[in-house]
Amino acid sequence: MRCHYPKTLSLILLFFLGAVLGTSLASNEDEKVMPPSEVPNLPVIDDRHLDKMPPREPVGLDLKKIGWSYDCMECHRMIDKKWERGFKLVEHDDIDFQHGNNRYCFNCHHQENRDAFVDYDGSEIPSNDILTLCAKCHGTKNRDWEAGVHGRLNGYWDLSKGPQTKLGCIQCHDPHHPSFKPIKPLSPPTYPKRATGNPSGQGH
């Protein structure tokens, strides 16, 4: 004997299909564009969720943050101009001076005017022109920075849509200790519980 169930089932299916198609057609007919939500298009993309703090910002430049004017000559006009390496620093003992072969203060700082930096010919480089100062030695890095590939760019890659910020040398590097200090890495992914071996990747 032939089973009668499939026929019944197909009937049910047909019924459902019909119902679904019917409603879908109906919904297509009176398709209305719903009014845009209260915040339809954020004009400026909010980046509060991203930590864009320049690396040196939280640790360096403390004096500036508390309002120090950086008028170095306030003290230095009273201090002997000459200073040799080996003379123990008193006021600036927080400086951890590790700049490779560049071991002398006056390679960068101007002997007469401590509010400025010094160029190769002894002329002054204004204190806000850090880029020129660093470019004295780091020519290739300066070239890359000018091209926008050394250091970090933030904001808009498409300048027709918005501004771009470029971090300067000392926003990332401590000039007295330019190499980055090691940092604690953020949390890793979890190693699968049921996986064999170990996460060091040495062998299976």
């Binding site: 845009p36 954020l42 864009k52 250091g151 890659w157 890793p188």
Partner: protein
Amino acid sequence: MQRETPPAKDIDAMSDTPEKLKRPKTVEEAIKPMDRRSFLKGAAASVVGMSGLVAALQPLLKLERGEITLDGLLQKHYKELSPKRMQTILRKLEEECKERYGVLPSIRDLKPAEGIGFAYALNLSRCVGCRKCAHACMAENNQHRDTPDDINMSYIRVLELAKGSINLETSNHYYDPKEVPQKDKYYMPVQCHQCRESPCTKACPVEATWQDDDGIIVIDYNWCIGCRYCMAACPYDARRFNYEKPKIPNEAINPNQGYLSNRPRPKGVVEICTFCLQRTRAGKYPACMEVCPTGARVFGNILDPDSEINYILQNKRVYVLKEDVGTQPRFYYYFD
């Protein structure tokens, strides 16, 4: 020996003659009770048929329970959607996000612009392996997380490799020392390479993933069937699968969302790095680049000859990961 031919009347008896078929059934034949074997056969067939039907009706049952909407069930392929229809879908998705996460987002469907091809470069000499990029990816792209520190669904894996070679087999992305970089190690973040010859899009049986004109590989989460063929095809382990409905703390929802990128995903779909399409198509840098503390990442328009990315391709020693598999990535590593 001559073959015996059966008598003619026997042949008539064996074949179903029209006369026999036309003969009306007797009452006994019509109401004859079913024997046990055919009853069981019929019952088994019915069970199979019923379970098939129930499976086929699952979407309708979900519909009944309100887990999916009729519009969602019958939605056309992304490329066939009219702009008007798209707007309706976007508003609906915004409402759903508001309902589930308590945050009303702005979901946009940004199209690729003409004359733009995105590319990414990463400086292996600079990367220190701090994983800020992987965490920023989580903050930007609304991935599932069990705890605030959980980055298993992040699109970026930072590999730790021994100095001296690029040997992925001995790499480790679970490293967790007190500080990085370790002296004898270097670090290589890996994410979607947006390959020009992308194995993932070729593997997809339903065309739920494809490469847009600006080079970004996207997924329509409403079209993905979750078969994970693309994940098997990807040589960079760039794709992630939603084994459950994404759990995201309400305060961690990023309201700037894209239909093809970081809107909250449904359960059972694959997701992928889109170079933060919701940002980059609006002109901004991707999230991973914005947070990199060493400036190891460079992003831009490869079709613009003056762009930073072209400067790198012209002036630096550039390395393509797994170049031999012929994927032609839009993601480059370089050294300086």
